[in-house]
Amino acid sequence: MDTTVTTGEEENVWGGGNRPLGASYGKLMMWFFLVSDALTFSGFLAAYGFSRFKFMETWPIADEVFTHVPFFHGIYPMYYVAFMTFVLIMSSVTMVLAVDAGHKMKKNAVIWYMFATIIGGAIFVGSQAWEWATFINGDYGALETKGGRILQFVKADTGERASLADFATTIPGDRVDHERKNGVWYYDEGARTTFSLNEVAEGFKANSNILIRTEVLNEEGHKTLLTRPESLEKLKSATMVVEGANLIQNEYGSRLFADFFFFITGFHGFHVLTGVFINLIIFFNVVIGTYEKRGHYEMVEKVGLYWHFVDLVWVFVFTFFYLV
């Protein structure tokens, strides 16, 4: 890889073959891309910060949103994301080990380390898909007010969150889901919520143990709990039932939270996915011996840079979305 100056004159800077930064063309271009990509992610995270500062007193608490772990029931905030973080760091480590083995021209070691990296990436993307599905399906359900704010429910005696099914009554004779087969002029209704607003309101009035929790954070950083009379008063401003989250509604609180969640983790997840595919291509190239013939494993190093970058971005997403 060491290029020699062919012009014969050592002073001739522009003669070609000069590498002032000591890095090959491919590696430099990868760094160019990574720096610009880092700025894109920074733009997203800064926009997230903007919205969060704007709604400082009503922003959802991440600990209360991401509380699930696959195969376990109960409330375990943060553990699963911590696991995902660890998986990604671990796959970063196997990637560096692959690069290191590449420098020593150990083909089999590169193959196994690349393989482990790909598995790690796949676990991460799968976890993220699960995280999305849980977030979209929702947890307890909530009401949305005229102003687009969210009202959540809490059991007065235990202080635990109450899901709509805990107290909503079933009023017979309500509308059923309209399906496409029943008429084409109205088929874009979308999914209806499990309970109608009326059913939730009646159930709330009948059950004196349920209180409303608003989005506003109090001095201690908890959501404000209304008293029973305040709750009954607040219930009047509700306009619809919200279950789960999408780009338009979000039962966890501010809609922007869901938007940024989908946008930022989605963009990152897309990077991981493409990273897995690129790693796969390089993996097969290693297997068929392309780099052995080429005499160096610099391609592994280049995709390695991309892979570590994805890890780097996740470290920031983890902090600003889940911790802070």
Partner: protein, 127 residues
């Protein structure tokens, strides 16, 4: 292609015999930081959430600093910036840092202003 690896971290406090053992060392360090972060995130010590520094909770400052430490070791040891020429390293690191600080400063100041308008002004939004 000759590959010289600098095998010290923590400014020479910790020296490794080979590049592979350095990688594992960095992994242990990064895992420790993550464990500390998660522990803080779950416990949320009242002493740290109640204290404010420059308008932000002390706990959040700790998280941000730990994140930057993690980012440093990922970039320096996993992405081999430690072994690159200082000119390349500086070009890669300082360009985004400058731009990001600039952008974050502008956006957060602006957001705080809007927050105050919502709070003190006559704009109804929480109904």
């Amino acid at each position: 292609m000759a590959h010289e690896h600098k095998l010290e971290i923590f400014r020479g406090l910790l020296k490794f015999k080979s590049n592979v053992s350095k990688i594992w060392g960095v992994l242990i360090f990064l895992s420790l930081i993550t464990i500390v972060e998660v522990a803080f995130g779950i416990i949320k010590p009242a002493a740290l959430t109640g204290t404010y520094f420059l308008g932000m909770k002390l706990l959040n400052w700790i998280f941000i600093v730990l994140t930057l430490v993690k980012a440093y070791y990922i970039a320096w040891d996993f992405m081999h910036l430690r072994d690159e020429k200082s000119s390349l390293r500086r070009a890669i690191v300082w360009t985004p840092i400058f731009l990001v600080i600039y952008l974050v400063f502008i956006l957060l100041v602006e957001a705080d202003y809007i927050h105050n308008i919502y709070k003190d002004g006559f704009v109804a939004w929480n109904f």
